[in-house]
């Protein structure tokens, strides 16, 4: 967790980089810690980077650069109770933090969590998983304007793009399954029969 801000009066801007808990994704950590990405973070006003490394936790120290360009960089392997707390640290809060960013692998659960909280989102599919439906999800989310899709080599550019673009809001226009279930079970007929 990035330390709570406001101490020295500086407004935080947090980026959470998550690789998922189950598969190894060291390339994402390495790319985000490379000089061009660190520069992109600085250029876009970030103050804190928080890495959720999962299986790749051991490689974090190897990638961590000596020169952090003034960024506060932290890492952890995973949080059993989920990433909610870490994600909330990326939200905009008056006087404490600016709207941050979530960089994640293309896991549907993580993406949904990020979108529910209204975070800017960069989705980097894990190419080593050979699971092309994750890539399809990332692609479609970018087409529909919910997220920025990126590969490892384009991450620095994607960070800038995601911070500039106004992403489509996710919450509020989703259909509910409950009435569909009611119709199948026959509640609509039930109600109609009583009205007749």
């Amino acid at each position: 967790m990035p330390e709570s801000s406001g101490k020295n009066g500086k407004v935080m801007k947090v980026c959470l980089i998550t690789t998922g808990a189950t598969a190894k994704f060291s390339e994402l950590i390495q790319a985000a810690l490379a000089p061009d990405c660190l520069q992109a973070f600085v250029d876009n006003g970030f103050t804190h980077l928080n890495f959720q490394c999962g299986e790749s936790f051991s490689s974090f120290d190897a990638f961590k650069p000596a020169d952090t360009k003034g960024l506060n960089i932290q890492a952890f392997d995973f949080n059993k109770s989920g990433l909610n707390k870490e994600m909330r640290a990326c939200q905009a809060k008056a006087g404490i933090s600016k709207k941050g960013l979530l960089i994640c692998h293309a896991g549907a659960g993580t993406i949904l969590d990020g979108m529910r909280l209204g975070l800017a989102l960069v989705v980097v599919p894990n190419a080593s998983l050979l699971d092309n439906h994750q890539d399809e999800l990332a692609e479609e989310l970018e087409v529909q304007g919910y997220a920025t899709r990126s590969d490892i080599s384009g991450l620095a550019r994607a960070i800038g793009n995601a911070c500039e673009k106004e992403e489509k809001a996710w919450v509020g226009h989703n259909a509910s399954l409950a009435p569909i279930i009611d119709a199948v079970v026959g509640y609509e007929d039930d109600v109609r029969a009583r009205l007749d």
């Binding site: 896991g107 549907a108 659960g109 949904l112 529910r116 439906h133 994750q134 399809e136 999800l137 692609e139 479609e140 919450v171 226009h173 989703n174 259909a175 509910s176 399954l177 409950a178 009435p179 569909i180 279930i181 009611d182 199948v184 079970v185 026959g186 509640y187 007929d189 039930d190 029969a193 009583r194």
Partner: protein
């Protein structure tokens, strides 16, 4: 000769069962106020998504809720309690906590958890999959039957509806339900099947989805991306799958 006549007897018995199964589905199903919903939970992602799908479930209507998880899936078993917490807390004033499995609450009714054997363990050799699948199917048949005998909706009533979003266990539960209906053990109006393809599926169906769509035993088959619905339905007049927008939130 004896074998032949025995065979004839079996065929006749199956024929009678099959035909009565369909006769025994009266359209004048008496409207009931209380229903029994069965939810098949699967691995992490599926279960988390199911929680979102069930966000508007009215526990006053679905007063009996059964969750099916496969053995060894402690994560999903724990999630069932979390789903209950979400469902119950919206309908009880000064909510203190969800009821435990098997407990009865005057407003939110009751819920329980049934565990079935795994269809296929991770890294299980392929040749043994048919056996473990059969074992799982038998487990599902038993779980469904056990659910009916302990029904709190009405004595010996099967669940009204089964909801799933695609773990491997779901195929087995749905097959079991269909077998029970086909052989008239359960009435055809019971155990309506609603399949919701995972939100993560944008251009292709999951394996469970493909299998279930091919067999065609779902009463409602929903996908969450319009592009996916279009590519499956094509230009034909008959819609195989339905698209109503994103169902997760």
């Amino acid at each position: 000769m004896a074998i032949l006549s025995a065979l004839r007897l079996v065929v006749a018995a199956v024929f009678i069962l099959l035909t009565t199964a369909f006769i025994a589905s009266p359209s004048l199903y008496p409207p009931t106020k209380l229903s029994h919903i069965m939810v098949v939970l699967g691995s992490g992602g599926h279960t988390a998504e199911m929680m979102s799908l069930l966000r508007d479930i009215n526990p006053r209507r679905y007063t009996y809720r059964t969750y099916i998880v496969s053995s060894g899936d402690g994560f999903s078993a724990g999630k069932a309690a979390e789903i209950e917490q979400m469902i119950q807390s919206k309908h009880v004033q000064s909510f203190i906590g969800p009821t435990k499995a098997g407990e009865f609450h005057p407003i939110t009714g009751t819920w329980d958890l049934k565990i079935v054997p795994r269809a296929r363990k991770i890294h299980q050799p392929l040749y043994s999959t048919p056996f473990s699948s059969l074992w799982c199917l038998i487990g599902c048949l038993r779980a469904l039957h056990a659910t009916s005998t302990t029904s709190t909706i009405a004595p010996h009533e099967y669940p009204d509806v089964i909801i799933t979003n695609g773990p491997a266990t779901a195929v087995m539960v749905i097959l079991a339900a269909t077998i029970l209906k086909l052989f008239a053990v359960a009435p055809a109006r019971k155990m309506k099947i609603i399949y919701v393809e995972s939100w993560a599926r944008v251009k292709t169906l999951s394996l469970s989805g493909k299998v279930l769509l091919r067999i065609g035993i779902c009463d409602k088959f929903l996908v969450q991306w319009e592009s996916l619905a279009k590519s499956i339905n094509g230009t034909g007049a008959k819609r195989k799958v339905e698209w109503r927008g994103f169902l997760v939130e």
